[in-house]
C-alpha cells in the first residue's frame, strides 16, 4: 500500500461557519470585476503553458511490507454492524487503502436484507468529523489515560456508582457491563431517547415478560399502524420496511397486496404509503383502541370508548380486515401510554397475531431501555445517593425531557464521567471525558434480535487517542481484561458462548451468527384479564392544539446532528432542510392566521415544564386538525460546527442552532396541549421542492389494486410519440445498454438512496442558504406529490391526501435535450445508452440545465469546501471532485459499471445480471430499484421494461429515458374522479 503526498483536491478550510458569507464575497468579487477576472484567468493560462515545461514532482512512499491480500487502489467489503441507531442492521463497509468510504446493507443479514437507511449511510461523516474527542480530558484540558483511569477507578470504588447507557444488546458487551457492576457494585441503568418501554411494560402485565416483540411485517397481510412510523423511524425501520415490501411487490407475478391502515395525527411516510390513512388526533388514541378492541371482541369488556373522530365505516373496515386475516394481521402502536399498549396486545391476541406476526420467541432487543429504572435514577440523583455517574452512548442532558434538570443534578454528583466519541451536551458537563472509538474504529458485538449475534470490526486504524468503551469499563473495574485488546476479549467470549464450535474468523468474515432457531423460550401466554377494564377510552383534554413530537426520518433521535448529508437530504414529506419546524394543517393555519413559513412561537406545558420553541411554521396537509407536530433531534447546542454553521439562516448567538429542541415536550403517556402564535417575521425553511402538486400531469402514476387486476396497464395509458420522431439518427447499442427501473409501489420515500448517492458520488453539501436559493447539489432527489384536490392549482382544502414518492435522477435520455445544446460536447451519449458528463470539458454555460425537462442537472456555483480536512477522507477516490463552474449530474454510478465490467472480463465471464449495483439501488430497504443490461434478454430490467406498469416520465416529449418507473398500486377503493375526468389517484 502506498501513501501519496498529493496536493489536496480541495483547499483546506477549517471553519464552515462563515462559508456562506465568504461565498457571497466571492460572488460579488467575480461579478463586480468580470473584466479583471478574465485578465487574470488569461494570464494564469499563459503561466500554465510555461509551467507545463517542467513537471511538478509528486512523491510516493511504498510500504515497507505489503499486506498480502490487499491491493492498493482496490476496494474491499468488510462485514460489520451499523451503530447509527440501536436497530443494528448488518453492513458491508467498503474500505479502500485502509479507510472506509461507503456503507452498504449486508444482503445476507436476516434483519435488514441488504437495505441501509439514510442515517446508516451517514455514519461516515461522524468518523471523519475532526471535532470528535481526540483524547482523554479532565473538563476540557487533556490528561493522560493513566490519570483519568486512576481518578475514575478510585471514585467507582467509593460506592454509589451508576452506569447510564443507551441500549446495549451485545452478549459480550452485556457480560462486560455485568463484570463491571459486579466488581464495583455499580448499578446499570439503560434508557432510550425514544423509548419503547411502554410496549415492554405492557407485555410484562399481559404476557409476564417485559419484552419488546419482534414484529414480522413480512408475514402480515393486514397492517394496522397507530402513530407508528415503522417505515421511517420507528424502532427498526429498515427491517420493517423490507418485511412490509414483501407483500407489496407486484413485480414477481404476485396478484395480491397487503392492506395497510395507518391511523395517525402526524403525517409520516408510513401514512403516505398506506392504503388507507385515517387522521387520528393523539387525544383519541385510547378511545379508538378501546372501540377497536371492543368491536373485535364483540362486547364492551375493554371499557367505554369516548367519542372519536374515526368514521364508523372505516373502523368496520379495519375490524373486518383483521377478522378476515387470522394469524396474518399485525397491529403496531407508537403510543407511550402503557394502557394503550395493553389494548394493542389484546387486539393482536384476538387477531391470533402472537406466534405469527408478533414474535415473542426471537424478541427484539433493539430497545432495552427501562423508564422505571431511569425514574429511580432521577430520584437518586436528587437525593444525592449517586456518588459517581458514568454516561456511555447516551446524551441525557439533551434528550431527556427533563434534560435541564438533569444538567443541574449532574453538577451535584461528585464524579461524572462521559464515555463518548463526540462532544455533546452531556459530555461537556462531565468532569472526566473518556474519548471513545467511533463505531467504525472499534470491535463490538450486538444482538438486535434474540439469537442473532452480530459483530462490528474496525475499518480504519484509530484516528485519534481513543479507546474502546468496554476496555475503559474493564480498566476502571480493575479487571485484567482491561489491559487486553478488546478484540481478544470479544473473541474469547464468542468462542466460549456464541459460536458453538464455529470458527471465529468465519464469524468475522460474515459479520453475524444466526442462532435464532436455537433460542428456547416458553412461549408466554396472554393473560386476558390484564387488558380488560383499563378504562383507557376517555379522551385526553386540554386547551389549544395537541402537540405531537415525532422522530424525523433523517435526523432520528438527534445523535447525528452534526451531519450535513442528513440535514440537506430534506424531510421526504415537507422537503424542508436544515432544521425542524411546527407542522400545521392548512385549515388550522388559516384559522390561526399563520402563513406558510411564518415564524411562530409554540408554548406548552409538559409535566410541569414550561416549554417555548421559536420555529417556522410549515403547512402539512393531512395533519390531524388541531395538532401541531414538531420533530425531535434538532436544536443541538454542543454537536459541532455544522450545528452552528450552515443551518443558521439569519439567527445568531444562542438561537444559532439548527431548529429547536423538542424533547422537553415529551410527556410520557400524556398528551400535551399548547398554543402556536405568530411571532413576526417569516424565516421560511429552505425547501428542495416547493410545489407538491402534479398539476394533473401524470408524473407519478397511480392506480388501485382492483383496477390493476382488471387491466394490467391501469393508470398507465400513455400516448407515446412514434419512436422515429426525432431529428437525429437513432442510437444503436451493440454491447450493453443500461436501464434502471424504479418500482413506485415499493418506494417508501425513506431517502436512503439520496444520502447513499451523495456519499458515493462526492456530492457536496451546500448549506441552508444555498438550498433556499435552489442550488442544492443532489444527483438524486426524492420528489413528493400529494394527491390532487386543487383549487387554482394549489393544494388547499384537502382533508387527508395520500402522497407518493418518486426518486428523480438523470433519466439518461436517448434523445437527450442536454446533449444537443452543449457547445463543447461536455455531455455526450455513450455507446451503452448513458448520458455522460465530462467535467474537465465543461465550460459552465448551463445551457444543458436549462434544457433539461427533469431538472436533474446541478451547477457548481462555488468551490464547495468541506468543513474540515479530515472530511476529505470520506471522498470516493473513484469519482472526480468537481470544481467551481462545472455542471454535474447522476452518472448511473459509471465507476461501478466499469468496475463490474472489469471484474467480469478478468474472470473471463459474461457480465452476470445483478453484478453491478448502483449506490441508490443497493441502499434501498425495499429493493425498489433495479439496474441492469436491457440488451440482456434474461435480465431483471428487461422483464420490468415489459411490465404493463412501466412508464417513462414525460414520455410525451419523446426523450426516451433509460430510467423508467412502475405505476404505484394501492389496495383501496378508487377515489372519486375529479370533475374534469382525469382520474386515477394523483
Amino acid at each position: 500500500m502506498q501513501i501519496e503526498f498529493n496536493q489536496n483536491p480541495r483547499p483546506a478550510q477549517d471553519d464552515l461557519a462563515d462559508m456562506p458569507a465568504e461565498l457571497r464575497q466571492e460572488m460579488e468579487r467575480v461579478s463586480k470585476s468580470r473584466r479583471d477576472f478574465m485578465k487574470v484567468t488569461g494570464m494564469a493560462a499563459m503561466g500554465a503553458v510555461l509551467a507545463g515545461c517542467t513537471a511538478p514532482d509528486r512523491l510516493v512512499k511504498p510500504l515497507l511490507k505489503k499486506q498480502e491480500h490487499i491491493m492498493p487502489g482496490v476496494a474491499y467489503d468488510y462485514a460489520s454492524t451499523c451503530q447509527a441507531c440501536s436497530a443494528n442492521c448488518g453492513t458491508w463497509m467498503k474500505a479502500r487503502d485502509g479507510r472506509p468510504i461507503k456503507a452498504e446493507g449486508a444482503r445476507d443479514n436476516p434483519l435488514n436484507r441488504g437495505g441501509l437507511c439514510a442515517r446508516g449511510q451517514g455514519q461516515l461523516w461522524g468518523l471523519y468529523d475532526s471535532e470528535r474527542l481526540k483524547g482523554p480530558l479532565q473538563k476540557s484540558s487533556p490528561v493522560k489515560w493513566e490519570e483519568l483511569d486512576a481518578a475514575v477507578s478510585g471514585a467507582v470504588k467509593g460506592g454509589g456508582a451508576v452506569l447510564l447507557t443507551g441500549t446495549v444488546n451485545g452478549a459480550c458487551a452485556r457480560e462486560q457491563i455485568r463484570r463491571f457492576c459486579e466488581a464495583t457494585g455499580a448499578r446499570h441503568v439503560a434508557y432510550d431517547a425514544i423509548s419503547a418501554w411502554p410496549i415492554a411494560a405492557a407485555h410484562k402485565d399481559t404476557h409476564g415478560a417485559a419484552v419488546l416483540p419482534r414484529y414480522r411485517f413480512e408475514l402480515a397481510e393486514v397492517v394496522v399502524a397507530i402513530e407508528a412510523d415503522f417505515l421511517g423511524s420507528w424502532i427498526s425501520p429498515v427491517e420493517y420496511a423490507a418485511g412490509w415490501a414483501v407483500n407489496r411487490d407486484l413485480r414477481n407475478g404476485r396478484r395480491t397486496l397487503s392492506k395497510h391502515f395507518q391511523l395517525e395525527a402526524n403525517y409520516t411516510i408510513s401514512g403516505a404509503n398506506a392504503d388507507e390513512r385515517i387522521k387520528l388526533p393523539a387525544a383519541e388514541r385510547g378511545a379508538l383502541l378501546t372501540a377497536l378492541a371492543n368491536k373485535l371482541a364483540g362486547n364492551t369488556r375493554f371499557g367505554t370508548a369516548g367519542a372519536h373522530s374515526v368514521p364508523p365505516e372505516k373502523l368496520d373496515d379495519i375490524v373486518k380486515a383483521i377478522k378476515d386475516a387470522p394469524r396474518k394481521a399485525l397491529v403496531v402502536c407508537g403510543s407511550d401510554d402503557v394502557k394503550h399498549q395493553k389494548l394493542v396486545n389484546a387486539i393482536n391476541h384476538m387477531a391470533q397475531a402472537y406466534g405469527n406476526t408478533v414474535d415473542l420467541r426471537n424478541v427484539s432487543q433493539q430497545k432495552l431501555g427501562n423508564d422505571d429504572t431511569l425514574a429511580q435514577l432521577l430520584k437518586d440523583l436528587e437525593s444525592g445517593a449517586v456518588k459517581t455517574l458514568i454516561v456511555w452512548g447516551a446524551n441525557p442532558v439533551y434528550e431527556l425531557p427533563e434534560g435541564a434538570k438533569f444538567k443541574e443534578l449532574l453538577a451535584k454528583v461528585g464524579t461524572t464521567v462521559a464515555i463518548s466519541a463526540f462532544p455533546d451536551e452531556t459530555t461537556t458537563e462531565c468532569n472526566w471525558r473518556a474519548s471513545a472509538d467511533h463505531a467504525l474504529e472499534s470491535w463490538g458485538d450486538f444482538e438486535p434480535v434474540r439469537g442473532l449475534h452480530s459483530l462490528s470490526q474496525p475499518l480504519v486504524r484509530r484516528l485519534y487517542d481513543t479507546r474502546n468503551p468496554l476496555t475503559s469499563l474493564l480498566k476502571w473495574a480493575g479487571h485484567a481484561d482491561g489491559n487486553r485488546d478488546y478484540r481478544e476479549v470479544l473473541a474469547d467470549y464468542w468462542k466460549a458462548n456464541v459460536l458453538q464450535g464455529g470458527a471465529w474468523e468465519a464469524a468475522v468474515e460474515r459479520g453475524f451468527v444466526d442462532a435464532q432457531g436455537s433460542v428456547v423460550t416458553n412461549m408466554p401466554v396472554m393473560n386476558e384479564g390484564a387488558a380488560t377494564g383499563l378504562n383507557a377510552g376517555a379522551l385526553a383534554t386540554g386547551d389549544g392544539l395537541e402537540i405531537v413530537p415525532y422522530q424525523s426520518v433523517l435526523m432520528g433521535d438527534g445523535s447525528q446532528a452534526n451531519n450535513g448529508w442528513l440535514h440537506e437530504a430534506g424531510d421526504p414529506l415537507t422537503r424542508a432542510t436544515w432544521g425542524n419546524y411546527v407542522a400545521l394543517n392548512p385549515l388550522t393555519m388559516k384559522e390561526l392566521g399563520i402563513a406558510d413559513g411564518d415564524d411562530v412561537t409554540l408554548s406548552a406545558e409538559a409535566e410541569g415544564r414550561k416549554v417555548e420553541l421559536k420555529l417556522p411554521a410549515v403547512r402539512q396537509p393531512g395533519l390531524a386538525g388541531k395538532s401541531a407536530a414538531v420533530a425531535l433531534g434538532f436544536g443541538r447546542t454542543q454537536a459541532g460546527k455544522i450545528v452552528y454553521g450552515m443551518g443558521t439562516g439569519a439567527l445568531t448567538g444562542a438561537e444559532a442552532t439548527i431548529g429547536a429542541n423538542a424533547y422537553p415536550l415529551l410527556a410520557r403517556g400524556k398528551v400535551v396541549f399548547g398554543t402556536v402564535a405568530k411571532s413576526g417575521g417569516n424565516r421560511k425553511p429552505a425547501r428542495i421542492q416547493e410545489h407538491d402538486s402534479q398539476e394533473k400531469r401524470p408524473l407519478l402514476k397511480e392506480t388501485t389494486l382492483e383496477q390493476w387486476l382488471g387491466k394490467p396497464d391501469a393508470g398507465n395509458d400513455q400516448h407515446l410519440p412514434p419512436a422515429n420522431l426525432t431529428l437525429w439518427p437513432r442510437w444503436e447499442y451493440n454491447g450493453h445498454k443500461w436501464g434502471l427501473v424504479v418500482d413506485l409501489n415499493s418506494c417508501t420515500g425513506c431517502s436512503a438512496c439520496v444520502v447513499a448517492c451523495s456519499v458515493e458520488n462526492n456530492v457536496p453539501v451546500v448549506g441552508r442558504e444555498e438550498v433556499a436559493t435552489r442550488r442544492e447539489m443532489h444527483w438524486l432527489r426524492m420528489d413528493v406529490y400529494y394527491e390532487d384536490d386543487h383549487k387554482d392549482g394549489l393544494l388547499t382544502e384537502n382533508e387527508n391526501p395520500l402522497a407518493g414518492f418518486q426518486p428523480m435522477m438523470c433519466q439518461h435520455c436517448e434523445n437527450a435535450p442536454c446533449e444537443t445544446v452543449c457547445p463543447v460536447i461536455a455531455t455526450s451519449h455513450t455507446e451503452e445508452g448513458l448520458n455522460s458528463m465530462t467535467y474537465n470539458r465543461c465550460i459552465g454555460t448551463r445551457y444543458c440545465a436549462n434544457n433539461c425537462p427533469y431538472k436533474v442537472r446541478r451547477f457548481n456555483w462555488f468551490l464547495y469546501k468541506h468543513n474540515d480536512l479530515t472530511m476529505n477522507l470520506a471522498l470516493n477516490p473513484d469519482v472526480t471532485v468537481r470544481t467551481q463552474g462545472v455542471m454535474e449530474k447522476c452518472s448511473m454510478c459509471a465507476q461501478r459499471i466499469y468496475e463490474g465490467k472489469r471484474n467480469a472480463a478478468r474472470a473471463g465471464v459474461k457480465l452476470p445480471d445483478g453484478a453491478i449495483r448502483t449506490a441508490c439501488q443497493s441502499s434501498c430497504p425495499t429493493n425498489a430499484i433495479a439496474f441492469g443490461d436491457v440488451n440482456d434478454k434474461d435480465s431483471v430490467v428487461t422483464r420490468l421494461l415489459k411490465d404493463p406498469r412501466n412508464y417513462a416520465v414525460l414520455a410525451e416529449i419523446n426523450t426516451r429515458p433509460a430510467v423508467t418507473y412502475l405505476t404505484k398500486v394501492r389496495n383501496r377503493k378508487a377515489p372519486p374522479a375529479p370533475a374534469d375526468g382525469h382520474g386515477g389517484g394523483h
Binding site: M1, Q2, E4, F5, P9, R35, A48, V49, L50, A51, G52, C53, T54, A55, P56, D57, R58, L59, V60, K61, P62, L63, L64, K65, K66, M71, P72, G73, V74, N734, G735, S828, T830, E831, E832, L834, S836, M837, T838, Y839, N840, R841, D878, V879, T880, V881, S891, A894, Q895, Y898, R902, A905, R906, G908
Partner: protein, 196 residues
C-alpha cells in the same frame, strides 16, 4: 480597453512570448500543459531498470505486483527489494551506495520516498488491470507499448507522449483490429470510461 492599450498588450505579448518560443529547438519540444514526455526525475536511489529488467531479465510484475489486479501499477514494497538485496550488495561503488541507502531505509523502518513519474490529472481514471490483463480478449497489452522499452532505460521515465489523443488513437486502432478479427469486445471510446 482602449485601442492604445490593446496595441501595448500585443507588443508586450510578442516581447515576452517570442524568446520563450525561440527557446524550443523544434516543434516537438513544445508541450501542452500537463504533458511531460521525457520526465525522468532524480530518485533517492539511482535504480536501474536496464539492469533489473534488461540484464537480469526480471519480470515487470515481480516488482510491480498487482498491476493486473487493480488501478495502480504499484511501487514494490521494500520487502520485495530486500528479497534479493539481503544478499546482493552490488558491485560498483554507486550500486553499493544505492543498496546501502535501501538497507538503511529498511532497517530503520523509514522507507523510501520516491518521485512519482506518471501523474494523471485528478479527473482521469486509468486502470492498469483493464489494460494489462483484460484487453485483447484477456491476452493483455505489453507494458512496453505504453511505457517504452524499460529494459533500455535507467531511472523510471515517461517514454510516450501521454495525451488524450494518444489514448484515444490506440483505442480506435484496437477496435479496428477487433472488427477485423471478428471480436465483439471493444476498447471504450465513451467519455465516462476515463472521466467520471
Amino acid at each position: 480597453m482602449s485601442a492604445k492599450l490593446a496595441i501595448l498588450f500585443l507588443l508586450l505579448t510578442i516581447a515576452f512570448g517570442l524568446p520563450v518560443l525561440l527557446a524550443f529547438r523544434t516543434a516537438d519540444d513544445i508541450q501542452l500543459p500537463g504533458v511531460h514526455t521525457g520526465y525522468q526525475p532524480e530518485q533517492p536511489i539511482p535504480y536501474s531498470h536496464r539492469l533489473h529488467a534488461g540484464v537480469l531479465n526480471i519480470d515487470c510484475q515481480y516488482c510491480h505486483a498487482g498491476v493486473d489486479e487493480g488501478r495502480h501499477a504499484t511501487l514494490p514494497s521494500l520487502s520485495v527489494c530486500m528479497n534479493c538485496h539481503n544478499t546482493v550488495a552490488g558491485k560498483t561503488d554507486s550500486a553499493k551506495a544505492g543498496i546501502n541507502t535501501l538497507r538503511e531505509a529498511w532497517n530503520s523502518g523509514e522507507g523510501v520516498v520516491w518521485k512519482r513519474v506518471h501523474n494523471n490529472p485528478d479527473f482521469v481514471y486509468f486502470n492498469h488491470m483493464a489494460h494489462v490483463r483484460n484487453a485483447r480478449q484477456g491476452k493483455g497489452i505489453d507494458c512496453a507499448e505504453c511505457h517504452g522499452d524499460m529494459t533500455e532505460a535507467g531511472l523510471g521515465l515517461q517514454a510516450k507522449n501521454r495525451t488524450m489523443g494518444w489514448c484515444v488513437n490506440c483505442h480506435r486502432d484496437e477496435n479496428a483490429k477487433y472488427e477485423q478479427e471478428g471480436f465483439a469486445a471493444k476498447a471504450p471510446l465513451d467519455c465516462d470510461a476515463c472521466h467520471r
